[in-house]
Symmetry: C2
Subunit: 240 residues, 2 copies
DNA sequence: CGAACCTTTCGACCGCGATCGAACCGTCAA
DNA sequence: TTGACGGTTCGATCGCGGTCGAAAGGTTCG
């Protein structure tokens, strides 16, 4: 009985369209200003301020004052994970609201999901890694295999985390657009960082979409045999 | 932008106190009738019916007609996982709403969380299993160690799942009352089934709380050295 | 200092949706 | 068939909260 009220308190905050848009906009790790979030939410600055206040008071967001701007970000990975799981449920049920939700094609191709990769690229990489026996994913867990550990170390990726005696953990994350699992967790974060550091992908302005560089596409095809079907290097400028 | 609306649609359903109570009541795997859920939600039967209709239409619940009763259950483990993650966020932020939410002591001691154990017993078992090197848990993953595999097989537990070529996966689940991780995922489900099959714990009527039997307490102490501090065999009848 | 900008606060409006009373369908037991 | 019970539908009420206009803090820059 008590748990229900706690759940409702948080879920009610997420349940407003404007606030949900705000949280979704923050799902890439960056911190955004109040006005940027107002634009993302599609409501006025005053309304946005009210929402931001509530979200911050509930510790869903953290705020950082910087000059005359205020940068908001998700308060913790837990919040991101919660949003992921809500999206997973939302994607699971057939045709929620709009038929298929004709969203931005760039987002569908490749985007970040908090600290890891999603979209066609995300599930493509996860598929390739799984098929080559590097990782194993399931609906309630994941792991890096023994061969996977050597694979990553040969690639020059250090999977060990700063935290002491931490294991190498995978986590599945149900892709919102593809409706299939992609790679999240610590390993997923390392993979995203790898792609960014080597210039295989680049972030886009004002969007969670990422662009796959020609070099990136070549590398991924060479190393993993990932065949990004169509529109891979066609760097759609993300009109969102 | 599109994602936000999807998120809001689902979260808005969960965000109503009555509906959240309904979902929370279904967090143990059992299916409950509409009137039982009306009682759990604390609203009238008519209101409950309306809520159940919305939840079922959104595919958060499944309904099964049986005579003049209608049994409702969570539509999928995804929904349970979503509720878990919302509770985790709710537990994370300091003092949400009530000071500490003086909930039922029986629930705090030992309860089910969908298909695994939670409460003091749940985190106690997770701690013991971790300390003995049987499992490893972190905030974004978990695994059964090599010694853990032999441990479970010696215990007569078959961790392999019906699904073909499925790995043995753990998943952490942030305990709502204890604010620490307990064991979920496939292994968590196996552990709960073990405890129930061997009569170590018994379910309570109309509650997610479980009672630890004297034999169960002895076995857990013998096998794992789990010292259930207080009120272990004091089978509080769960006045909820 | 004043102007421009970002952000928040205040106040009022207004619509959505949760709620319950009452009536309406099915099912089960005599 | 009749009555009792479980569950849903209809209709009307009403309060909460999202929304924006106007104005007021703060901050930076000229």
């Amino acid at each position: 009985m008590g748990a229900g009220l706690h759940i409702a308190e948080v879920a009610n905050l997420v349940g407003d369209p404007a606030r949900a848009n705000i949280l979704a906009a923050l799902l890439d790790q960056r911190a955004l200003t109040a006005s940027e979030l107002a634009y993302a939410a599609g409501v006025s600055a005053q309304t946005t301020s009210s929402h931001l206040g509530k979200l911050a008071q509930a510790h869903l967001l953290e705020v950082e004052k910087q000059g005359r701007h205020r940068y908001y970000r998700l308060a913790s990975p837990l919040v991101a994970q919660m949003l992921e799981s809500v999206m997973a449920v939302s994607a699971h049920g057939p045709r929620r609201g709009r038929p298929v939700a004709r969203c931005d094609e760039g987002l569908r191709t490749a985007r970040t999901c908090y600290d890891h990769l999603a979209g066609r690229l995300g599930v493509g990489l996860a598929d390739a890694l799984t098929q080559r026996g590097i990782i194993a994913l399931d609906h309630d867990g994941g792991e890096v295999t023994a061969t996977g550990l050597t694979f990553f170390s040969e690639l020059g990726v250090d999977l060990t985390a700063p935290a002491k005696s931490r294991r190498v953990f995978c986590r599945p994350c149900l892709d919102w657009t593809e409706r299939r699992y992609h790679l999240a967790g610590h390993v997923g974060a390392c993979l995203l960082r790898l792609c960014l550091d080597r210039g295989w992908i680049t972030r886009q302005r004002d969007s969670r979409a990422v662009t796959i560089t020609p070099a990136g596409a070549a590398q991924m095809r060479a190393i993993l045999g990932v065949a990004l079907a169509e529109a891979e290097t066609t760097a759609v400028p993300a009109s969102l």
